[in-house]
């Protein structure tokens, strides 16, 4: 393992821009690392070796010629979730139905990364169409958690979180519809941020649930996440729901937070996020984190958000409903898989045969649940009622943020569970998103920062910090302050405690 793969993005950027190391060297180190261990971890679905080296070379050329670099992260490698369209590079969304699909266009996030000189190493594994909390729903095999290879890396963005924890990339991009950035971050001991809905363009992000999906940065440190946030954030005229406002000053907030002073800040602990589904070790780690915040000068109070109890059911009506419509376009007519075009089968039959063969069980379940919830006889009782619950959850947030600056909770009720443990119990699987979903429903920002290891199984726990819409700087400041205090308490970054992975024979 080289120093290059264990460096933060900020450190790598500084060295590359100063000419101390080339982006090509950094990129090669990460490609080598992927080559050595990805057979074990399986974080990547596609590695773009040539594209990555070419992008790195362009940054090195800029540095050599004394030209200004394209962005503060120019030359730094990144792992991109395979849900973003990338021109000329396969995009599968973890689904058989898009096997070998090569988009003729770039998502806005991919374009911004390229424009910023960020080196995209490849596309990461995910639950099919981002539906899942374990990455077990990928059509291309499971991704393993570098902390314990028998456990899940979270989901849907398990490929992105695992690539960070396995030191295959210092940066990654995820998408968060119900927790798919934060929960994987939590169970892999990494940082994951869901920005305010509309803060990062969804153009080219293959939709799961349009009103909830939000792309965001993933990293091993809060500062790295902030740097990436500023690269991918901002208004996009190609996304009607994109907010036309400057990106909140998250890098400055992360730097400010690292000084470790939270005096004058009011932190609310959400009373509803505890109970029978919560692992003891998670609660203990969370309580310690809250104590740490107090130690940094924050005032901690308990707040109640009574409708958060209904967030999970509302989410599992809204998301499937929207997905049933969003996934209708996968019909074997224009792109992707086609099955059964023989024996005089009609277009309708070919559509049904293709979707049956091309979608996995979880996607089929959600498509059918959504079809049910939108049906005329059930609309008011299900979809309509869920939309009202959504209003009530937003009001709970508003009331809480009238009293406190940020809210905190465990990111997910348990540490990483074992692969296979919940595959046949969808409802148990859904509970992984218990604490993350309210922020998706309200469109507010939230992030997960590692909060130590659970004392019952030694696996990472995540602290979730939530802020009001467009106030990301608040949560970055709190997370950065906590991160610094935690590293001090643990005698170094938590991520360095990931067990050494067997390097496959080459």
């Amino acid at each position: 393992m080289s120093d290059l793969t264990h460096s933060t993005a900020a450190e790598l950027a500084a060295k590359i821009h100063a000419g101390e190391v080339s982006s090509v060297e950094v990129t090669r180190a990460h490609l080598d690392r992927i080559g050595a261990i990805d057979e074990t971890v399986h974080a990547f679905l596609h590695v773009d070796t040539d594209g990555a080296l070419a992008a790195a070379q362009r940054v090195d050329d800029d540095v050599a010629a004394g030209r200004p670099v394209a962005s503060p992260l120019a030359g730094v490698p990144l792992a991109l979730k395979d849900v973003f369209a990338t021109e000329g590079i396969p995009t599968t969304c973890g689904s058989k139905i898009l096997e070998n699909w090569i988009p003729p266009y770039d998502s806005t996030v991919a374009r911004k990364l390229r424009d910023a000189g960020v080196v995209v190493l490849g596309k990461t594994n995910m639950d099919e169409f981002a539906m899942g909390s374990s990455t077990e729903n990928s059509a291309y095999g499971v991704t393993r958690n570098p902390w314990d290879l028998d456990r899940i890396p979270g989901g849907s963005g398990g490929g992105s979180s695992a690539s960070l924890a396995a030191f295959q990339a210092p940066l990654a991009i995820g998408t968060d519809t119900g927790g798919s950035i934060r929960q994987p971050a939590s169970v892999t001991g990494t940082v994951g941020v869901k920005p305010t809905y509309g803060g990062v363009s969804r153009y080219g992000l293959v939709a799961f649930s349009s009103s909830l999906d939000q792309g965001g940065p993933c990293a091993r440190t809060v500062l790295d996440a902030a740097l990436l946030h500023e690269v991918i954030g901002g208004h996009d005229p190609l996304d009607s729901t994109s907010i036309d406002a400057p990106v909140p000053p998250v890098v400055a907030a992360a730097r400010e937070g690292a000084a470790g002073d939270l005096r004058g800040l009011r932190v609310g602990v959400v009373r509803e996020f505890t109970g029978e589904w919560y692992q003891d070790g998670v609660i203990a780690a969370f309580d310690q984190a809250v104590e740490a915040l107090r130690g940094l000068g924050a005032e901690v109070v308990e707040v109640s958000c009574p409708h958060f109890d209904y967030a999970l059911p509302a989410y599992y009506l809204i998301a499937p409903s929207e997905c049933s419509s969003n996934l209708a376009r996968f019909d074997a007519m224009r792109y992707g898989l086609r099955v059964g075009d023989e024996n005089g089968n009609s277009a309708e039959q070919v559509m049904a045969l293709t979707r049956e063969a091309g979608f996995g069980a979880e996607v089929k379940r959600r498509v059918m649940v959504g079809t049910y919830a939108l049906s005329s006889g059930y609309y008011d009782a299900y979809y309509g009622q869920a939309q009202k619950v959504r209003t009530l959850i937003s009001r709970d947030f508003e009331r809480a943020f009238g009293d406190v600056d940020v809210l905190v909770s465990p990111t997910t009720p348990t540490t990483a569970f074992r692969i296979g443990e919940r595959v046949d119990d969808p409802v148990a699987m859904y509970r992984a998103d218990l604490c993350t979903i309210p922020a998706n429903l309200a469109g507010t920002p939230a992030m997960s920062v590692p909060a130590g290891l659970s004392d019952d199984d030694g696996l990472p726990v995540g602290l979730q910090v939530m802020a009001p819409a467009l106030q990301e700087q608040r949560m970055y400041k709190v997370a950065a302050a906590y991160e610094a205090a935690r590293d001090k308490a643990w005698g170094g970054p938590l991520i360095n405690r990931v067990p050494e992975l067997e390097v496959a024979a080459r």
């Binding site: 070919v350 049956e356 079809t371 869920a386 009202k388 619950v389 859904y430 469109g443």
Partner: protein, 99 residues
């Protein structure tokens, strides 16, 4: 509250264009039932006077100028197609509305 029969699953699968197998009908009937039971609690919330939220951001009137933008070439458009003929997407016979 919900009690999803095999027949209802078959109906939903038809609406959603999923050629599910007999085994799946049994499996999904049970699972959809459990899922719908577990989400039915949204109905417990008294929300008669509450307006629904369809969008998380309070944006209005987002429009584009009526100016052409470059799109895809025919070749790009058809590149991912399972079958192509005469510059068009070739698809199996369509059971139409027309007699």
């Amino acid at each position: 509250m919900p009690n999803i029969s095999r027949e209802e699953v078959a109906h939903l699968a038809r609406l959603a264009r999923l050629a599910v197998t007999e085994d799946e009908l049994d499996k999904f009937a049970g699972q959809l039932d459990v899922i719908l039971q577990s989400v039915a609690s949204v109905g417990e919330v008294a929300a008669q006077e509450i307006p629904p939220t369809s969008h998380a951001v309070p944006l209005r009137n987002v429009f584009r100028a009526d100016e052409p933008r470059p799109g895809l070439s025919q070749q790009q458009a058809l590149a991912g197609a399972p079958a192509v003929e005469e510059g068009r997407f070739r698809v199996p016979r369509i059971l139409g509305e027309e007699a």
